[in-house]
């Protein structure tokens, strides 16, 4: 019984996926499927939150760890799915005969991501990672235009598989070095392992797959392409839940291989340079984009760089900041994509120009976008500001003044392209005055998420305390 309870969120997701599968086999109307997807999302969030006080290792000892960290992250991932489900009332960029399948694939991916955050054994880790990846490859291909979907999915999948192959290669070395596939056992041998440079090289290889999901340099090439061309709803999922899962597992691995007292300077240094490269490259490339989703893709690369600031410190404060930022980032980019979904109903591609006149056509959507972009820029009162504050603070604590200066200058550069988007939405005159009709559910979700982004920025205490608790469970 207790094992079942510990595995409840994943079970709920799997059952949900099964129900969605049946519904689609029996040809249920999309309205019904949508309702079921929403229900599964709510159930998954509730189940994850319900398991917060639980801790343990279900089924086989040492393979799968349930602690506050994993369950906290699962709740965020489930929240990401629920968000995507809620805005998918009419996923018009998805092929109409595949509408019912999209939520199912996303729910399966959610299951994989949840398992990823708990996996403590190399094979489980790898399988979870693939379970989180494949359904998304397929969902991306469900675009209503076969050529766009095919291209998008192929690019995403090929690069994803290369990254996961690198991870697998790294995992095999890890097994070779330590003689065990259990992360617990490996971490108990750190005393001898950590002195070998090869070990740190291997750790970086292992991280490749997760850095790919995070769209961090040098595994970021898919992000702009896939963001631009994948169905809007699917990208929303990739940009939110998937990012949180990647950050969580990076935190997990870093916490295991670099607990206090282990000299991880080499890996840390490499991650720092990756961070600098990601944010600089992402921001500079984003300056010249005309497509909103592509711009958000490059912005995701830049944000991967910001998150790595916290992770490369390899300290509790840094991981806490990364986790806190992951939660905030998911909500901020969710807001931006909500607007993309709404204004991009009839378009395969959403250009920045098409935002013109948005403040007249849909004032609420314009405000949603404003808050989302303010968050990404890092302006108060959104979580973007305090999130960066925590990340930078963790790095300054390690004496990385110049690094933080580079990151801060990067944020100033990023301001330019975000402001151009805001300018278009709030200032440019549109060609049509026709109001954009937005469903009640979407508006409620927009309002709720906006409130969340501001609440996290204005009263961060509760969220920060939870992040601290989660990382304590992780490091403990």
């Amino acid at each position: 019984m207790s094992d079942i309870a510990l595995f409840l969120p994943e079970t709920v997701c799997l059952l949900g996926a099964l129900v969605l599968f049946c519904a689609q086999v029996f040809g249920a109307r999309y309205g019904v499927v949508w309702g079921l997807a929403l229900l599964s999302g709510v159930a998954a969030v509730v189940a994850s939150v319900w398991t917060w006080p639980l801790a343990g290792e279900p089924f086989f000892p040492g393979v799968y760890r349930v602690d506050f960290f994993s369950q906290f992250v699962k709740a965020i991932i489930a929240g990401g799915f629920l968000f995507v489900a809620a805005i998918s009332g009419r996923p018009q960029t998805v092929r109409s005969d595949a509408w019912a399948e999209m939520p199912m694939f996303l729910l399966l991916a959610t299951t994989g991501m949840m398992m990823l955050t708990s996996a403590m054994e190399l094979v489980t880790l790898y399988i979870s990672m693939e379970l989180a990846a494949y359904p998304i490859y397929i969902a991306v291909a469900l675009h209503r235009s076969r050529s766009i979907g095919g291209e998008s999915s192929t690019k995403y999948m090929l690069q994803g598989m290369v990254a996961s192959a690198i991870t697998l290669y790294g995992l095999s070395f890890l097994f070779g070095l330590s003689g065990s596939t259990y992360l617990g056992t490996i971490s108990s041998q750190l005393g001898t392992l950590a002195t070998q440079p090869l070990f740190w090289l291997v750790v970086l290889l292992v991280l490749a797959g997760f850095l790919f999901k995070l769209a961090a340099f040098p595994f970021h090439f898919w992000a702009p392409d896939t963001y631009q061309t994948a169905p809007h709803e699917v990208v929303t999922f990739v940009a939110t839940a998937s990012k949180v899962a990647a950050i969580a597992v990076l935190c997990r691995v870093v916490a295991l291989v670099a607990p206090a007292g282990v000299d991880a300077a080499m890996a840390s240094r490499v991650l720092m340079w990756m961070s600098v490269a990601a944010m600089t490259l992402g921001n500079l490339a984003a300056l010249r984009q005309g497509d909103l989703k592509r711009l958000l893709g490059y912005s995701a690369v830049a944000h991967a760089g910001y998150v790595l600031i916290g992770i490369q410190t390899m300290t509790g404060a840094g991981l806490t900041a990364a986790l806190f930022y992951a939660l905030g980032y998911a909500a901020m980019s969710a807001l931006c994509f909500l607007v993309v979904v709404e204004i991009g109903r009839d378009e395969d591609l959403v250009s920045i120009e098409s935002l013109a006149g948005l403040h007249q056509r849909a004032p609420l959507l314009a405000a949603t976008l404003l808050i989302g972009l303010f968050g990404l820029i890092g302006l108060p009162p959104t979580v973007g500001f305090i999130g960066k504050w925590f990340l930078f603070s963790a790095a300054i604590e390690q004496g990385q003044f110049v690094f933080v200066l580079v990151a801060a200058i990067n944020s100033a550069v990023a301001l330019y392209y975000y402001l151009l988007v805001i300018r278009q939405a709030y200032f440019a005159e549109g060609t049509s005055d026709e109001p954009i009709h937005t469903g009640v559910v979407t508006l409620a979700v927009a309002g709720g998420t906006t409130g969340f982004v501001i609440a996290m920025g204005v009263v961060p205490g509760w969220f920060w305390a939870r992040s601290v608790e989660a990382v304590a469970a992780l490091m403990g």
Binding site: F385, W389, S393, I396, A408
Partner: protein, 491 residues
């Protein structure tokens, strides 16, 4: 709730109300803003009257822990400096709302952004927690972008983007610097009062101080990082220019004072000669460039660079010891006087521009006979800018000049050259635009001069300038006690 929170609540509450009022209820929105500004004004005057200048130091302290794990708290308190700067903000806020009373385009959004800006400004002046200080600083800067972009004129897109990029580049310098101060203190708190008591390692101070100084200095219009300021002034709508030049630039100078000089005294002394030189260049350079401008607003924009140079110069002279008391008193007094003066300038130029749709100085000829009231008001501001006795700036500039002459005689001479140049550009504007040959083109404006309630905001500003011109001690007494406290680290 205590006094300082009440002041902060005025714009915040008004912001919430404005967001709730439907956009077409324009009149209601204006009244909400005006009343909140009035209320903030009354509370600020109450603060000024009740602040115990004899006791000095921080008063009206409010602390609520915010994120305890990292030592962030909602911590408000005022010293003599912030007391008068809060009053300055309230005056400019109130007169700004009145100046924009006739605005008809996207009124709700305009006032919402303006209230956000004012919230940020109050927040900076009231906060004694480094985190909130920086947070409010960013809150104050960002609304400038939409305010200039949507309601501005001329080259507004360029100006708006330039301004925000410059200012947030300044923040980029501040970000690591403020966090470094926090971590170097080892106190685990962002409480600026406690941080000020900590003696940081001299090498650390010398390293970090330039980041703080330049980061805030950008907003103070410090030469050579002033480029955003004149273009921003010119493109912004009147009330935004008023707030921008009147109050926002003071945030930069106040930041240098509250974070740089207070927390990093050794660094401040080390860098003072360099930065004093930059500031002095700014004083002369701004005045020189102002002479050659053909656009009203550019003249005022560059005069702001010049006048803010005096403030920054005063701050740097203050730490050098020889005439510290005069220098710092003068710098803070100048913040106040210049704030009121530029608000008056922009309020009036905006008024003339809205009627004439021209800002070209030579175009006007003899506007003095066509719009006598508006021109008189402008002349008061101009005389104040030139440092004429009887108006508030006189005392401020005098104090800084004396300090400059005592500390670095050569620098003092340079500054006096700046003063002469100021007189030149002010008189040039008077003669070319107001007292030249009457241009028939503007005869239509005769009936459009300031009248009725339009006089009110300008009258308030003139009255303040004159009052403190004749009774400088009403301000200096409040400032002086705090100056002595701050300067104890430098004796």
């Amino acid at each position: 709730m205590q006094l300082l929170s009440e002041i902060l609540l005025c714009p915040v509450g008004a912001l919430v109300l404005v967001l709730l009022i439907p956009a077409r209820a324009v009149q209601a929105i204006r009244w909400v803003c005006a009343l909140s500004a009035l209320m903030a004004g009354v509370l600020s005057v109450q603060l000024w009257r009740t602040y115990d200048a004899a006791a000095g130091g921080f008063q009206f302290v409010e602390i609520i822990p915010w994120v305890e794990e990292v030592g962030i708290s909602y911590h408000l308190a005022v010293d003599g400096f912030s007391t008068i700067l809060v009053m300055l903000t309230s005056i400019v806020f109130f007169t700004g709302v009145l100046t924009m009373w006739d605005l008809e385009i996207r009124v709700k959004e305009f006032f919402a952004f303006m209230l956000l800006l004012v919230t940020g400004v109050y927040g900076v002046f009231l906060s004694q927690d480094l985190f909130f200080f920086f947070l409010f600083y960013e809150v104050a800067v960002v609304p400038m972008y939409p305010l200039i972009l949507i309601w501005g004129s001329g080259n507004r897109e360029y100006a708006a983007m330039k301004l925000v990029l410059f200012l947030l580049a300044g923040s980029a310098l501040l970000f690591p610097a403020l966090l470094a101060i926090y971590h170097a203190s080892g106190l685990g708190t962002f409480n600026m009062i406690l941080l000020a008591q900590k003696a940081f390692d001299p090498d650390f101070q010398i390293f970090v101080y330039p980041f703080v100084f330049l980061g805030f200095g950008v907003l103070a219009g410090l030469f050579p990082f002033h480029g955003w300021s004149p273009t921003g002034h010119v493109a912004a709508p009147s009330a935004v220019s008023m707030l921008h030049a009147g109050v926002l630039m003071k945030l930069g100078a106040y930041g240098i004072l509250a974070v740089g000089i207070r927390l990093l005294p050794v660094g401040a002394v080390y860098w003072a000669p360099t930065f004093a030189t930059l500031a002095a260049i700014g004083v002369v350079y701004g005045a020189f460039v102002a002479i050659r401008q053909t656009d009203f607003k550019f003249v005022i924009g560059f005069s702001s660079v010049s006048h803010m140079g005096i403030v920054v110069l005063g701050l740097n002279l203050a730490v050098l010891g020889k005439a510290g008391q005069d220098a710092l008193n003068g710098a803070v007094f100048q913040m106040f006087a210049h704030g009121i003066m530029t608000a008056l300038f922009f309020s009036t130029v905006g008024f003339i521009y809205d009627r004439a749709h021209s800002k070209t100085i030579a175009d006007f000829g003899g506007l003095g006979s066509q719009m006598p009231r508006a021109v008189s008001v402008f002349i008061v501001a101009g005389l104040c800018g030139a440092g004429v006795p009887g108006l508030a700036s006189f005392w401020a500039e005098l104090l800084v000049f004396l300090a400059a002459l005592k500390t670095y005689p050569a620098l003092g001479v340079v500054i006096i050259v700046g003063l002469v140049l100021t007189a030149i550009y002010v008189i040039r504007v008077f003669s070319q635009a107001f007292f030249g040959p009457v241009n028939d083109k503007w005869d239509d404006l005769r009936g459009l001069d300031l009248k009725g309630w339009q006089i009110l905001p300008r009258a308030i500003l003139v009255a303040v300038l004159v009052y403190f011109g004749f009774f400088p001690s009403a301000l200096l007494d409040v400032i002086d006690g705090t100056t002595s406290t701050v300067l104890t680290s430098f004796r």
